[in-house]
């Protein structure tokens, strides 16, 4: 099981709230390491989130869900 | 970084005699051509003057008086170097080696012309010599940047020369191009032909500085002013600027104070022109001939031979153009897309 973390986007405001803006892969689908799985945003900066490992994606924070930088937004389980 | 270089006065240079004869020969060929085109242009416009009539209809902008710019500049170029020119392109096309038959056929609107008759005298495109021209003032500068950009990326020492008139130096494209060429260190030489007149508007009424060579400093590039329409002055300035571009030294600007011997366009009565009385006396060709004959570079009879050869070449091109087929109207919409 590997955690998918909300990436650090703001060094000036490490505690800033962000939002998960898009999941490219639905919950339960297989992903490969490095595959684009999500997009997140803090203020006006957005970033891509890639799968950290092969496996099945589990969505923890849904689209429009609030998260902080470093929070777990998803997991990749061995399939 | 600006240098306003006083011209090396004619008759006191160290140019090889062969080079000087070559410059004269090029200028004579250009003048002979322009005189012949002028003759052909007016031959069938009458009665009066109907611009749309005749074998060479439309506008005609001839370069008589500006031969020194083309001759001095193109002496340092090869067919692999690009030249972008203006609505007044013939001298540069000839000096750069554009095929005279194809160019003339284009001016006569024939299927065998450079553009199959689609472009005419202001839109001469010759891929073989990377020559192009355009009727929109100053807009040939940016394309030259692109050609230089491509040459630079191939690792060659090929360059692009972009020529405009002095009126163009007040257009946005001129300033954008100088900035970008300087910023990206492109192998371009910018040439401004100051013939005093933007159609009917003298430079003093259009330009905020005494010379566009002074504007070069604003973009961080060398600026050279060649006075007196001196072909050998152009030759020297071009040698420096072209050498600089070829060796990775970036762009320069040369302004040549040249002479528009005739009107802006053929049919221009030039009623506005206050310097008309002195124009014939400033004709660069008789002056250069006299200099070369005095220096023994042109022996007695040589000038006549050169004139005769030029005439034969030009008349042959014109005869071939007149005999060439007109474009077929059924194909009028061909070539819109590649």
């Amino acid at each position: 099981m590997t955690d998918l973390l909300f990436p650090p986007l703001s060094t000036q405001r490490p505690d800033a709230e962000g939002v998960v803006t898009r999941w490219f892969v639905p919950d339960g689908e297989h992903v490969t390491a490095g595959q684009l799985v999500a997009e997140v945003q803090v203020d006006k900066v957005d970033a891509e989130v890639d799968a950290p490992a092969d496996g099945l994606l589990r969505v923890v924070v849904a689209v429009d869900g609030i998260a902080h930088q470093g929070d777990v937004i998803g997991r990749v389980e061995p399939d | 970084m600006t240098t306003t270089t006083p011209t090396v006065p004619q008759g006191t240079t160290n140019l090889e005699p062969g080079v000087r004869r070559g410059l004269y020969r090029t200028m004579v060929l250009i003048r002979t051509y322009e005189e012949a085109i002028r003759r052909e242009y007016y031959a069938d416009k009458g009665p009066g003057f109907d611009i749309g009539k005749g074998l060479v209809p439309g506008e005609m902008h001839l370069s008589a008086g500006q031969e020194p710019v083309a001759a001095g500049l193109c002496a340092h170029l090869t067919a692999d170097d690009a030249v972008t020119a203006t609505h007044r392109p013939h001298h540069l096309a000839i000096a750069h080696g554009v095929d005279m038959n194809a160019m003339t056929a284009e001016i006569f609107g024939r299927e065998t012309g450079l553009g199959r008759g689609r472009g005419g005298h202001m839109h001469l495109f010759d891929p073989a010599t990377h020559f192009s021209c355009s009727g929109i003032i100053a807009e040939g500068y940016p394309a030259a940047l692109g050609q230089a950009f491509a040459f630079q990326r191939k690792g060659s020492d090929r360059i692009a020369v972009a020529v405009t008139g002095e009126g163009a130096a007040n257009q946005g494209a001129f300033h954008e191009s100088l900035n970008l060429a300087a910023l990206w260190h492109l192998p371009v030489v910018f040439v401004v032909e100051d013939n005093d007149w933007g159609i009917s508007v003298p430079r003093s009424a259009s330009t905020s500085v005494p010379s566009n060579a002074d504007r070069a400093a604003a973009y961080g590039i060398p600026g050279i002013l060649v006075e007196d329409n001196a072909v050998e002055g152009v030759w020297s300035a071009a040698k420096d600027a072209i050498g600089r571009a070829r060796s990775g030294g970036g762009p320069s600007l040369i302004e040549v104070h040249t002479l528009r011997l005739w009107g802006h366009f053929e049919g221009d009565a030039q009623g506005y022109r206050t310097d008309l009385a002195g124009v014939e006396g400033r004709d660069p060709l008789p002056a250069y001939r006299a200099t070369l004959e005095a220096d023994g570079v042109l022996v007695p009879g040589a000038a006549d031979t050169i004139a005769r050869e030029a005439s034969e070449r030009v008349e042959s091109a014109i005869a071939a153009a007149k005999a060439a087929p007109l474009p077929d109207p059924a194909h009028a919409t061909d070539y819109v897309f590649a």
Partner: protein, 347 residues
């Protein structure tokens, strides 16, 4: 003429989900990997990745000699693209907003688009101009225009405007490979940008490999029998929303033109011949543009194909206002499209 769904289903093996912006960047990257003469120039296209994301990630892969930030000198750098293309390169040059084409229009329509014709076919200009278009997020008069009607009106350049990631990637690859100039217009609202209102039609499956979508061919985005809605770009999404809403009441065919030049007149005529009723949706100005051209396409051939007058849903001949209440009235939003569909069915 294929349905977008068919294309996507056929390509389902070896696909991944992308936004339109990322699909465009991927198309560019694939071509750049294969052809060193492809370069991308424009303002903020490097580290920023393009204001609307069209070059996201490209600087990292290709470096600053191929993804090139320019000064604010559109005339100079569009012209530079022309000169480079004439000398054998395949440059992609970005005008940040279609609204900005005024400052460089001469290079576009008098030079890029005309050189091939003026030279009797002897000189080719294989370049792409990308432009962002469209409103709906209060960017007002000078930053919300589409202007593809103006571009399409001027001879010598192909004009494409994809509505979805699949078409965007395929059309970009086609545009780069085209031997002549192609203007590639991407509506900001189809890009799937995180900082604009979410649009689920801006994300879809895209084949992993390089593929082309033909320039000049429309796609039936949704089949129907009662009325044809001809449209392009962001308005395709609105038309599909309306068609889905009316499902059961009316069978609405949505034709996504994908290209304006060449215009797929065959597809327009085939669809109208089938349904007999035409609504054209165009986010460009109403008069003298795309919507009139689509109607003329039918009327030029056979007005009797139309069982009711064609209805055009376009921006009125009015600048796009700032205030949201005004802007939402000006743009061809779903409410206006639905009203037009109902009216043409009743007429």
């Amino acid at each position: 003429m294929t349905t977008t769904q068919e294309s996507m289903a056929a390509a389902a093996h070896g696909t991944h989900r992308l936004t339109t912006a990322k699909a465009i960047a991927e198309g560019i990257a694939l071509e750049m990997r294969g052809d060193p003469s492809v370069v991308y120039l424009g303002e903020d296209v490097g580290a920023y990745g393009g204001i609307f994301g069209a070059t996201g990630g490209l600087l990292d892969e290709f470096g600053p000699t191929r993804i090139i930030d320019t000064p604010i000198s559109e005339t100079a750098f569009i012209g530079l693209g022309i000169g480079a293309a004439v000398e054998g390169m395949r440059p992609i040059v970005e005008v940040m907003f279609t609204d900005f084409m005024g400052v460089c229009l001469d290079q576009i329509y008098n030079h890029m688009a005309k050189i091939h014709y003026e030279s009797g076919g002897n000189v080719s200009v294989p370049m792409v101009i990308t432009m962002a278009a469209g409103g709906g997020y209060s960017d007002a008069e000078q930053h919300s225009q589409c202007l593809w009607g103006t571009l399409a009106h001027l001879p010598g350049m192909k004009v494409v405007a994809p509505s979805n990631p699949y078409d965007a990637k395929g059309l970009m690859i086609s545009a780069i490979r085209d031997e002549g100039p192609v203007v590639f217009v991407f509506h900001k609202g189809v890009m799937g940008l995180a900082w604009m209102a979410r649009n689920d039609r801006a994300v879809s499956d895209v084949p992993d490999e390089a593929y082309t979508v033909p320039i000049g061919k429309a796609a039936v985005a949704r089949e129907g029998t009662d009325v044809t809605v001809v449209t392009i770009s962001r308005s395709v999404h609105h038309a599909l929303d309306v068609a889905e809403k009316l499902d059961g009441e009316a069978s609405v065919e949505v034709l996504d033109l994908r290209s304006l030049v060449p215009l797929d007149r065959t597809a327009i005529l085939a669809s109208v011949a089938k349904t007999g009723r035409l609504v054209v949706v165009d986010e460009d100005y109403h008069s003298f543009g795309m919507s009139g051209e689509v109607v003329a396409t039918v009327v030029d051939v056979d007005p009797k194909l139309l069982h009711a007058p064609a209805i055009r849903v376009a921006n009125p001949d009015t600048p796009v206002p700032y205030a949201r209440t005004l802007e939402q009235t000006i743009l061809p939003m779903p409410e206006r499209i639905e009203a037009a569909v109902r009216r043409v069915l009743a007429g």
